[in-house]
């Protein structure tokens, strides 16, 4: 660790920059949350504490529908992405080095590098073509698009875990008569669980968040929570939107906290 001689807190301007950064990060969110409890329909005038907007949100059929759709879409996409990411991580760490390895690494991480809007437009054109050709316009497109988009987020923690895992453990298993499949089943996989969980959580949160991809791929009546909110914002903005956003934020926080707790315990 850094010794006493170098402490960044002593650098000029450290305190100011830190305070400004925290304000930029959290003040807007704090205001959003505070006004979700406003008794009046204003984003600037405080009219006393009330839960009326939460009541309105939870009684809104549409809000409940899009929320449930978002959740199961995220679950399905994260599950698919995690399985694929696990296989990709194994294929990039548990093999002898081969030419083109870096290339494959880059390919897997495509969604991190290609601007989301570009992916969105590409998907829009591609999916529109498929819809016309096949006549199918169900949720399948969203599931596949989200899963593909989530792969790198699931891949990174799984790969990180595999890279820090002691290779001699797998060697020891082979030494003790385990076939390659048994080695994977009894040694690699159990030790990989924290990485897989982390990958799943990240994929889940990313899918839950994504607006651009969903917006370009969805058919009518396939709104997710973020695209629904975006649509509502084009009309009147009531504190009901604050309430929905606050609930959404709470859900994300719960998931991220869970993720930290699990990875701390298992790691």
């Amino acid at each position: 660790m850094v010794g006493r001689d170098f402490d960044v807190r002593r650098l000029p301007g450290f305190g100011l920059i830190a305070v400004l950064t925290v304000i930029m990060l959290y003040l807007p969110i704090v205001i959003l949350v505070v006004f979700s409890f406003n008794a009046e329909q204003s984003q600037t005038q405080w009219g006393g504490f009330s839960l009326r907007w939460y009541e309105a949100a939870l009684n809104n059929r549409q809000v409940v529908d899009v929320s449930l759709r978002s959740l199961w879409l995220a679950l399905a996409a994260a599950a698919i992405a995690t399985v694929l990411a696990t296989m990709a991580a194994l294929a990039t760490t548990r093999v002898s080095r081969f030419p083109g390895q870096t290339m494959i690494y880059a390919l897997i991480n495509q969604p991190l590098m290609v601007p989301e809007i570009v992916t969105g437009i590409a998907l829009l054109i591609f999916v529109a073509f498929l819809k016309v050709q096949t006549g199918y316009s169900g949720m399948g497109y969203l599931v596949v698009a989200h899963a593909a988009f989530c792969i790198p987020f699931a891949y990174l923690p799984i790969r990180a875990r595999l890279e820090t895992m002691d290779l001699t453990l797998e060697r020891a298993a082979a030494d003790l008569y385990a076939t390659p499949l048994q080695t994977f089943r009894y040694v690699t996989l159990p030790l990989l669980v924290p990485g897989i969980l982390a990958g799943f959580m990240l994929g889940f949160v990313v899918s839950l968040d994504t607006v651009v991809i969903t917006e370009f791929v969805k058919s009518a009546g396939q709104d997710t929570l973020p695209t629904y909110m975006l649509g509502q914002l084009r009309r009147v903005v009531t504190p009901e939107m604050n309430a929905i956003a606050t609930l959404f934020l709470a859900l994300s926080l719960v998931i991220v906290t869970l993720f930290f707790m699990i990875s701390r315990k298992r790691g």
């Binding site: 002691d166 001699t168 453990l169 060697r171 020891a172 298993a173 082979a174 030494d175 003790l176 008569y177 385990a178 076939t179 048994q182 009894y186 040694v187 159990p190 030790l191």
Partner: protein
């Protein structure tokens, strides 16, 4: 006796090269070695000399670049580790962190598809053998270094391998525990009758535990023999230097006979010397020779084979190392047993040096 002399592992002309072309590195060079059934065999050598590589070749984690290898009379070149009847105790133990002590020990048998009852019974037996019964349900992280070491040993022994490979299993332990584990290992080896191939860079450990040992350097085996042979009749300077303390002298051969030579000592006297295997110096040649410090006695000046003057003395409890300069200027050390009435020799005191007959050894090269 017949059991003792059966060949468990035969290594013929094995070489291992890492990398290619410019960066090629010869980790093993032309290793020829026969390990007998039921013996405690040790590979001894400095760090980086290829000990682990040789073990990995035997276990099947590494394929030899050249040469052949057979275990119990069958060639195993190309066979995967999981089909070799060889188990390894790894340098860092490599216990499965997510399994209990008992699960670790039973792993090999479980993979072999043995019935559950047999796995449980053998696990219990192994726990008893390494005296870990009370900790069967702990995880490896909850064990001390010595306890982990014993679990690693039990895990490797449980499937009853023909050969157990041990890669510096004691190097992480403190001195006291190390001594305990040395005798424990020896006891286990005798009780199970399994062939042990043990790697260490600690010469004392190698001498006390082995039936036979091979001294390695730079990917080659320099000398192979019993601890007694290696210590008393080293064949070259590296071996003599690596094992114990020794005196090096450059001496002139004055006469040859069948198995030895007569050499001229500093001061003019002569002495009989043994020859390392495979050398045949002619009278008149100057040859390197060694003699251990405990094979020389101090006596009054002029009464020994050589004369020297004390330049220093270091007290070691049971004995004292007396450093001298010989009459021709070569440095020399004598180990003298301490007794209460003997004063420590003062610097500048002249002494005679009497060599134990037959203790002088002429080295190769």
């Amino acid at each position: 006796m017949t059991e003792q002399t059966r060949h468990e592992i035969e290594i013929t002309g094995v070489g291992k090269v890492f990398g290619q072309g410019e960066t090629a590195f010869h980790a093993l060079r032309n290793i020829n070695l026969t390990i007998r059934t039921g013996e405690f065999f040790t590979l001894l050598g400095p760090s980086g000399c290829g000990k682990t590589t040789l073990l990995r070749v035997i276990a099947g984690f590494e394929q030899p670049t050249t040469g052949s290898l057979s275990i119990n009379g069958q060639s195993v070149v190309g066979l995967a580790p999981n089909v070799r009847t060889v188990n390894t105790v790894f340098q860092n133990y490599a216990l499965f962190p997510h399994m209990s002590v008992a699960e670790n020990i039973g792993f090999g048998l479980k993979m072999l598809g043995r019935p559950r009852a047999e796995v449980a019974a053998t696990t219990d037996e192994m726990l008893r053998l390494v005296r870990m019964e009370s900790m069967a349900h702990r995880k490896p992280a909850e064990l001390s270094g010595g306890q982990q070491q014993r679990v690693a040993l039990a895990r490797a022994l449980a499937p009853r391998p023909r050969v157990l490979l041990l890669d510096e299993p004691l190097s992480a332990l403190d001195l006291k525990l190390r001594k305990d584990m040395q005798s424990e290992l020896k006891r286990l080896q005798i009780e199970t009758g399994i062939t042990f191939v043990f790697v260490t860079h600690d010469q004392e450990e190698a001498l006390t535990m082995s039936d036979r040992l091979a001294v390695m350097n730079a990917g080659q085996i320099l000398q192979l023999g019993s601890p007694h042979e290696i210590y008393n009749a080293p064949s070259e300077r590296f071996v003599a230097d690596f094992i114990g303390e020794t005196n090096f002298l450059n001496l002139k051969v004055t006469a040859r006979d069948g198995s030895g030579a007569t050499v001229g000592l500093p001061g003019g006297a002569t002495a009989q010397a043994r020859l390392a295997e495979g050398i045949s110096p002619a009278p008149g040649d100057t040859v390197p020779a060694v003699i251990r410090p405990e094979q020389v006695q101090l006596c009054p000046p002029g009464e020994g084979d050589m004369d020297g003057t004390v330049t220093g003395a270091v007290f070691f409890g049971t004995d004292t190392h007396v450093h001298l300069t010989l009459s021709d200027g070569q440095p020399f050390t004598v180990r003298r047993q301490n007794s209460a009435d003997q004063p420590e020799p003062a610097n500048g005191t002249p002494f005679g040096l009497r060599l134990t007959p037959g203790a002088l050894q002429i080295l190769r090269g």
